[in-house]
Structure formats: structure tokens, C-alpha cells
């Protein structure tokens, strides 16, 4: 709530004065004054012609508001408004179209994204695997020899003496 600033009304048993009591007089005219305030103002009206004049002039000015023109709506106003309302918001709270709960459109979108990521991963992973195979090819070619020796020092020795290549020839099956 905001208050645009109001003056504190005088105590109800104080005599009515014009300058200070305009709010009290207006609330009396508006039918908002309590019984005590109303009786006080009515007594003041009888006693004081100025108070009576003030009340009368405030009421007469207010009554002139009945002369204000009150424009009426265009004939199509209601139908046009309804059309605009239903066009801009076709869904009514009770008549919302029923949609399948699963899979929803977001599920489909999430699935498509996951599929795309999986494809990208496969494309990236395949060359990486190929590169590793290529790097390890010399070892794979002599894997049988390495398994047969089971001694690293011995392998280093025969590698140094270039005996591994000769062993390859010996191990090659005769055609």
C-alpha cells in the first residue's frame, strides 16, 4: 500500500472549521463519516451558515459530474475483443489439447543430440584407433617371437645383432 500523504483528522469532538475539516466534510458527504463525526457536522451546519454553504457548494459541484459524457462502446467491441482473445490464446484452461506424455518433443530433441554426439565420437575414435595400430604394428608382427623368449634382455641382445629379422625368415611358413 502506498499513501500519497494525508493530514491527521482533528479529534471528533472539536468544533468543525472549514479550512482544517474539508476531509471530514467530504467524508460526511461521501457517507463515510462515523456516527459521532456525522452528528458533529450536522450540529455545525445548523450553528454555522459558512459550514452549511461549504457543504452545499461541495455537493453541487460534485453533482455536476452527472453532466459528464459517458462514451459507449462500438457495436462490434465485444465480438472483436472475443475474436482477438481467442485468436491470441486459442487454448482454454479446460480444453487444452491432450498431448502424449512420452516421448515428448524434448525427448525427441534430446535423442537427436545424443545420436549426433555418438556419431561424432565414433568418427573421432576410429582414426585414433588406426593410428595406435599403425604405431604398434612392428611389435604385433613379432609378437610370437616376443612371447617365445619371455626375456627382455635376451630380446635386446638379438635386436642388437639383427637376429630378429633373420628369425622372421625362419618363422615364415614355406610356400
Amino acid at each position: 500500500m502506498t499513501d500519497s500523504g494525508t493530514s491527521q483528522p482533528p479529534p471528533e469532538n472539536e468544533p468543525v472549521s472549514l479550512a482544517a475539516d474539508s476531509e471530514r466534510l467530504v467524508s460526511y458527504l461521501d457517507g463515510e463519516a462515523d456516527d459521532v463525526a456525522s452528528k458533529e457536522i450536522e450540529k455545525a451546519m445548523v450553528r454555522n451558515p459558512e459550514v452549511r454553504g461549504e457543504i452545499n457548494s461541495l455537493q453541487r459541484a460534485w453533482d455536476l459530474l452527472d453532466y459528464l459524457d459517458r462514451p459507449t462502446a462500438n457495436k462490434e467491441f465485444a465480438s472483436r475483443t472475443l475474436e482477438l482473445a481467442t485468436r491470441s490464446m486459442p487454448e482454454t484452461p479446460s480444453a487444452r489439447p491432450v498431448t502424449a506424455p512420452w516421448p515428448g518433443k524434448w525427448t525427441w530433441r534430446a535423442g537427436a543430440v545424443a545420436f549426433a554426439l555418438a556419431g561424432a565420437a565414433a568418427v573421432w575414435y576410429r582414426p585414433a584407433m588406426d593410428r595406435r595400430m599403425e604405431r604398434n604394428l612392428p611389435i604385433l608382427e613379432k609378437l610370437d617371437v616376443y612371447r617365445a623368449t619371455r626375456d627382455v634382455e635376451f630380446l635386446k641382445q638379438i635386436e642388437k645383432e639383427n637376429l630378429l629379422d633373420q628369425m622372421d625368415h625362419l618363422l615364415e611358413p614355406e610356400s
Binding site: D30, W62, L64, L65, L82, S88, M89
Partner: protein, 196 residues
């Protein structure tokens, strides 16, 4: 409104028909332009429609409706003021309104104070007098006079205290009385004719 909440569009049309003139009437005197008032009234009802699902019948429907009217009218007045400030115009209406009131007081016969005003002339004088009120005073006046709302209901619509509403309405009555007194009480010492 409960039928509207349940999605009954026919009920919405009935609701618009019931309140359209009252909403347009208030907006017209808040904005001073019939076309703008009708456009804004339409926006008021569109907002009612859009928020129908959230409507709770804890307050009177009219209180809720006029709260929307108040918010939109205040926004429109603020936008208009901003546009006017941007274009460097000050307060163009005020002096011309005062001139209208003075012109109507004296013309055409110059026979004040015994001059009798035609109904149309009184309407014009009152309309110009109402324009002298602040937007808050104007709305409080309209809600009280034409919607027969009490201080509490007006306070709810305008988001103010009852004391603030009491003060607004007292000021509104005094401003109107001061402007209109020469027309309703020709012997008044502030008659424009006598000042001239």
C-alpha cells in the same frame, strides 16, 4: 467470471458486454481520447481473458477489473508524458483548458452572472474542470461517483490506504468546487466575469 475461468468463451463475451461502457467511460475521462480509451479497454479485457485461469473469487470481480484499468491507464499516461517530454513540449493542455473554461463562462452573451448555460455547455465546462484533477484524483472521483465504490474498494483498486483515498476525494471535490463555483453560484466573488 467463474464460467470464463472454466473456458466458456460465451461467458467472456457477456462479461465484456456488461462492463465495456463502464471501462471505456473511465478510461475516456482518464485519457481524454475516445479512440485511445476504446483501444485500452480492449487491452483490459484481453488481460482478463489471459489471466482467467488465475482468477480467484476472493474479491469482487469489478474491483479486480478496475485494478487492471488503473494499471493500464497509469502506464498510458506515463508513456504519453515520456513522449511529450522527449518532444520537448511542456503542458500544452492546461492553458487552453483554462481558456475554454473562461470562454464558456463569458461567451456568448456576456450576460454573466444571470446567464443560463445550455446542457452541452455545462458538460464541456465540467469536462474541462475534471481535466484539472490529477490522474489519481480523477480515478478516485470516477470510481466513487460512477461505480459507487466506497473508500475501501477504491483503496483496493488504487493500491492506496483508505486515508489516502479520503484525501484524494476531498482534494478532488475542492478543486472542482473552486473551478465550477462561478457557474453554479454566480454571486460568488471569484466569478470570471467579475475578475475580468
Amino acid at each position: 467470471m467463474l464460467r470464463v475461468k472454466q473456458g466458456d468463451d460465451e461467458a467472456f463475451a457477456e462479461l465484456v458486454e456488461e462492463f465495456q461502457d463502464r471501462v471505456i467511460g473511465i478510461l475516456y475521462h482518464m485519457l481524454g481520447d475516445a479512440d485511445e480509451a476504446e483501444d485500452l479497454a480492449q487491452e483490459v479485457f484481453l488481460r482478463v481473458y489471459r489471466s482467467r485461469a488465475n482468477y480467484e473469487p476472493t474479491a469482487k470481480f469489478s474491483t479486480w477489473l478496475f485494478t487492471i484499468v488503473n494499471n493500464l491507464a497509469r502506464n498510458a499516461i506515463r508513456d504519453r508524458k515520456r513522449r511529450r517530454d522527449r518532444h520537448g513540449a511542456g503542458k500544452p493542455a492546461s492553458s487552453s483548458q483554462e481558456a475554454t473554461i473562461d470562454r464558456l463562462a463569458i461567451a456568448p452573451s456576456g450576460a454573466m452572472p444571470s446567464r443560463i448555460f445550455a446542457k452541452g455547455e455545462i458538460a464541456e465546462i465540467v469536462r474541462e474542470a475534471v481535466k484539472q484533477l490529477s490522474p489519481d484524483q480523477r480515478l478516485a472521483m470516477m470510481l466513487h461517483r460512477f461505480e459507487h465504490m466506497n473508500y475501501k474498494q477504491i483503496a483496493d483498486v488504487m493500491d492506496k490506504t483508505e486515508a489516502a483515498v479520503k484525501s484524494l476525494l476531498a482534494r478532488a471535490r475542492i478543486v472542482l468546487r473552486d473551478i465550477l463555483d462561478p457557474f453554479i453560484n454566480p454571486a460568488s466573488p471569484s466569478t470570471p466575469r467579475e475578475e475580468a
